[in-house]
Symmetry: C2
Subunit: 68 residues, 2 copies
């Protein structure tokens, strides 16, 4: 399930033509590519706030990245 979530994020990110660094750059509050990578690989159980910041940077609704 975390893996599916991560793949969702990665898919959307690539569709937008963004690298992890680009994505991080679009997030106001500090976040690290380390964390993006961990989330995309399903290696961490992200908090909803982190996912929310990612959804903002990707310019998609939070619910889009929560579609499993």
């Amino acid at each position: 399930m975390l893996k599916a979530l991560g793949e969702n994020i990665k898919k959307i990110r690539l569709e937008k033509g963004l690298t992890q660094v680009d994505l991080v750059g679009k997030i106001e509050a500090r976040i690290d590519t380390t964390n993006i990578s961990r989330i995309e690989k399903g290696r961490t159980n992200a908090t909803i706030h982190t996912l929310y910041r990612i959804s903002e940077a990707l310019e998609v609704p939070l619910s889009d990245i929560c579609k499993l």
Copy 2:
């Protein structure tokens, strides 16, 4: 945003006619009404795994409780 998420959960829970205790009872892995209450009140930044377990207990897609 955490508050909106919590209100979402509460709304769905009440629509299903469940109390917090009922909801906890439907979740396989251990969870506490303390945590349900904190999430519903937006006092905690829940992890996606916790929200996923709640969505399972509510029998709705995770994306439904992530609609802000």
